[in-house]
Point group: D2
Chain length 382, copies 4
């Protein structure tokens, strides 16, 4: 899979980010750790120069892991020194803070990429064993009504945010209802049993083309066995748990499921006005479960944060008045605002401190290897 | 090009539409003209059955043109008879009206497909000669300010509209400015001269990948010659006229141009609130020019209708409360609401009676063979 | 299918051959009929200049058929005039003779290309009706023994031959046996019934990859129906006749069948030493049947000439001492001596006067749209 | 590159060969080391069951190298035990011997695959440093005449051979001349300087298509620098040495060079009748140079063995009377006899004990990552 990178590459790339955007700019008498790393560990920054081809990252038998760790130590030390010498320099601190959030994103990718690679391995490897079996809590779905109107979304807080969350701005939302929790595996299995993957009329045209071309018949990592659906997880193969949120579905599958269920996906505006009222709590990577858990029966709405990223109906577009970061860092988010959809809320592989109500994740509609699920919505007009 | 179909196919497909959705449903003792046409001339209606593969349409040496014309006459006669017998039947009339608008869309595609096929022909064919040379009128661009606020867009009139224009609904628009006329060839040539097609930082990531993969260096049909830019038109090859709106650019090129110009594309909401105030007049197919004309110096804003379809910044998405047409006709528009962008206003190949302020055309961002251009916008906040 | 060209293109290309290699070289004050035809109708002669891309030949709505026929008349007239004026000029005559043989090759391709295009047409068109049904003559296969030894193959006669048939040379052939007639449809159907298309061990690795990738389950143009195998022919759809030679199989299928049958394909040397003793008679295009016929019960060996081209085990390679024609005509045969296999004997679509015992046809091993079948052989040593 | 496998995979696959074809067949109470290795390390034996997809071998982060080495030790011990218990059992010994030759083949592939992977690494890694610089010995090429006639080629000795070298048989060879040594880098550079990679008329049609599609301008691993041609070697980057045999050329490049030089490649029969008279000595992997060396001035003919594999003009085909090994081992060689060409003589990466005069190596004509060069030949007739 061309989207998947080796762990070693992620480790080096996040360090490359600090070396390139901090040390190279502000360190006196800067000299690169190794000049060839400039190309090797550049992901997609055209203004920084060439990039090593993404599909070839798996071929990098060298540098060794030890060399990469040495690179990390070396750069980390220099960044700390620099920071000591420029305490209070807002510009320096802003880029270092961005680098830390960037590293959090790659922590999540390391987990999803490892999961993808291990899933192809017939020796059935286990990344991290899981103690005990998940609780069985079947929580019915209810609908939460919202009156809409002129609302404000987007970031304007005092702390950190990415450029794509700004500026905070007004939008008009027609009255709608949002589901109290994400769609579960049991619900998604009913879609499958009803011929969901065989009925063209349930799908977007591009989605149906993917179903046919890729032979999709279930979410990624699901396999039908004599005893029912099995799934590959970071704790190895296990039965699909009926009460867990469905996971590893593409936008196409999320959208088709919603149509089958007589509903639709929420827009990101709808999602945010509800989520903004809720505390950012949930099953994040911090809990070391590395897998979504069933919805608790108490909280309503439940699981807006953590467990699974929730596909929204919103194509990833700039907010009115959007400006990218200056310079090469302007390539961070803006140039991907095409052919992608927004996901919200973070997952069981996301650091809790990384997520905000205004946080916009985005992936192409066919992507399935992230911990991506869905929550239903429906309109009250039209 | 897999998107391009032979004229004969268009002629038969528009008749197939009437046969399938009108005669088959309402004609007593209906018998298909030829049963195999059911598959042969079905474009993409999954619920009507199989479709003949689009890329193979060019292979259809049979039926002959005479047989297709006989098919058309036969079905047209039956539809007129049916209509006579059911005058005032709103349901029948609605589908026939839809079929007429459908045929107008294919009239435009016939012209753009012919242009594409002829452009590959080294004998330099002429579809229709053009009398006289176009006027030279260099009209400077100005900015029209709009205060935004809660606006209403979408269709609610008494006549015909497609499902994707409905329902009429509220949206919030931040203050913005819209350019008084589309971008011209002279302006676009300045972008090229400034290295527009060589600078990755001006492009969306997917757009830059297309530039590299396809070797784009100018709009479709442009060729550099010793005496300057030449273009292929339906009137043969001719110099690129500096004052005409630039045409046959993809969304990627439109978006990159706008960034280079320090502006952006308008959203479809911004476009519509301005255009709704203007009469639907302009250079449509009815003028038989088959090519965009320079902006008149008098009208402001100019050329919102006709000349060139204008790419907007809006991904093609459902309006709040959107419902598709019932039955197989529900596949008309809804299933394409992914990976496409909205274009507005019609072109020199569109019938004038086909266009409304609320009309939403849509194409994938890489499409260039339609008469597609752009108009700039900019935000007054952010 | 990129290998297939429109009839109009074949008609123009064969005339282009005379214009380019005869008129342009020897006609005084030569002026091309239309300069753009030089590129448009050049098939693959690099030394003559650019070529119009093969897969786009189907897009050539212009020149019209009338213009092509005018081109043919014009060039033909000029060639006849030239020939009159240079009677006895061996060099001129040789190229004209080559052009005539070239045109015979394209006459066969016109038929196979028409068959391929019509086969995709759901209206089930008929190119030429066939009177009566074929005789039912089940002729058993026997083996003809040959002692081998030092043999001579290749052309050295007084008349015309292609360069790839020369020079006549010696080869050593180990003792072998050749089947008395080609493999029939009944025999090939037994291979299918025995799981021939499901058993990887019967196939060359590349052949098995094609079976899997293309989903081959029978020869091209065969379809299974409730009443047994049907096939598309130039006379429309009809049942597969058990006694006819199997046709439209690739080298891969021919080779797999032979392995399944406990035999092998003959080398072209083995084929030629047997065929050289036989008259060049059989079911050629001259009989206007356009389809192979059952083997007669009388002749042994039967059908070495006509009916179906016979795949040999021989990769298409140069004979010892091979020289190409001089100049651009050297591209006629030599540059294809790689990744192709030799077929011998002509088919029901080949003009009888076109075939010699030494004639070497060649196609890539996956090609199936020619009238290609097979005859078995086996070794008497090893 | 899908043809390249990780070293760990090679180590496990060669052990898999012994486990599958020796232990599973003859070991009492055989139990697989790990059942999933059966699929994981099966290269292409359809009759043994499924295979792990070749392009995914690079994804196998597990089993670890330690686990693979444990697998090797475990299987090796069991094979030695089995052999002790069945001393003199010809059938067992034959398969073990085949397994050893199989492992020698993979020893060579380990080196060529490592070279390929390292060559993409911008850190310029060195596999094994090389002491001293190569001697400068410019040895002129001369021609060795051979009278041809009825010759015998193929294996009939008492020891080991692969099935594709058998049976020994007669062939007729027309008189020819063979070059005294392989083509050198200096000679190949002259071909480049003469526009060899720009002149379509020098190439086979398929070869020219590769040149255009892949942008070939020199042998694999060559790069033009300010100071002349550089090449990547297993000892790192170094100047191209003029007197060394040219290496890492495809069949297409070898064939085009020969045409440019007014000669041709030898057939494998021509090569073998000359080589059979020479001792199997030369620069093999045993010398630990891992790179071809200049021809010595003394020996004539020089370097038939070792240094570089020599492309022959012979498509890889079965000998008359050829039979594959029995059972699944029949897939070893026979099923690749299509679309490949024969190379002879071994290279600087081949174990000396692995090579015989009758040894037939084979690769597709576009392959360049083996140590493949060429030697010229020419006919004395025709």
């Amino acid at each position: 899979m061309p989207d998947v990178s080796p762990t070693k590459w992620h480790l080096a790339h996040t360090t490359w980010f600090f070396e390139t955007f901090v040390l190279e700019k502000w360190q006196k008498s800067f000299r690169p750790f190794r000049p060839e790393y400039r190309v090797l560990f550049n992901s997609y920054y055209q203004r920084v120069g060439d990039q090593y081809p993404r599909p070839r990252r798996g071929l990098l038998t060298r540098p060794s892991l030890d060399e990469v760790l040495e690179y990390r130590t070396n750069v980390d030390t220099a960044v700390v020194e620099l920071l000591d010498g420029r305490a209070g320099d807002a510009e320096v601190e802003a880029v270092i803070e961005l680098g830390l959030h960037h590293e959090q994103q790659h922590q999540e990718l390391i987990l999803t990429d490892i999961k993808h690679v291990l899933s192809h391995n017939p020796t059935n490897p286990i990344y991290a064993s899981r103690a005990g079996s998940p609780a069985t809590v079947t929580t019915p779905q209810s609908w939460l009504a919202h009156d809409g109107g002129v609302c404000r979304i987007g970031y304007d807080g005092g702390g950190f945010s990415f450029d794509n969350e700004c500026p905070r701005h007004r939008c008009f939302i027609e009255p709608f209802e949002l589901a109290s929790r994400p769609v579960t595996n049991a619900e998604f299995a009913a879609f499958i049993d009803d011929g969901g993957y065989q009925r063209a009329d349930l799908w977007l045209a591009d989605g149906w083309a993917m179903v046919v071309a890729e032979g999709w018949t279930a979410p990624l990592y699901w396999e039908r066995s004599d005893s029912g659906w099995q799934q590959f997880t970071l704790a190895g193969r296990s039965p699909v748990h009926v009460d867990e949120p469905v996971c590893h579905v593409s936008y196409y599958e999320a959208e088709a499921y919603a149509r089958w269920a007589g509903a639709r996906l929420p827009t990101e505006q709808e999602w945010e006005v509800v989520a903004a009222e809720m505390p950012v709590e949930g099953n994040f990577v911090d809990s070391c479960v590395f897998h979504p858990r069933p919805a608790p029966s108490s909280a309503v709405p439940a699981q807006l944060y953590g467990d699974v990223w929730e596909w929204t109906a919103s194509a990833y577009s700039p907010y009115p008045g959007f400006h990218t970061f200056a310079g090469a860092l302007g390539e961070y988010n803006g140039k991907f605002m095409c052919n992608q959809f927004v996901l919200r809320g973070g997952s069981c592989a996301t650091p809790q401190s990384h997520i905000r109500p205004t946080y916009r994740n985005f992936f192409p509609p066919a992507a399935r290897w992230q911990f991506s699920g869905l929550r239903l919505a429906r309109s009250r007009v039209g």
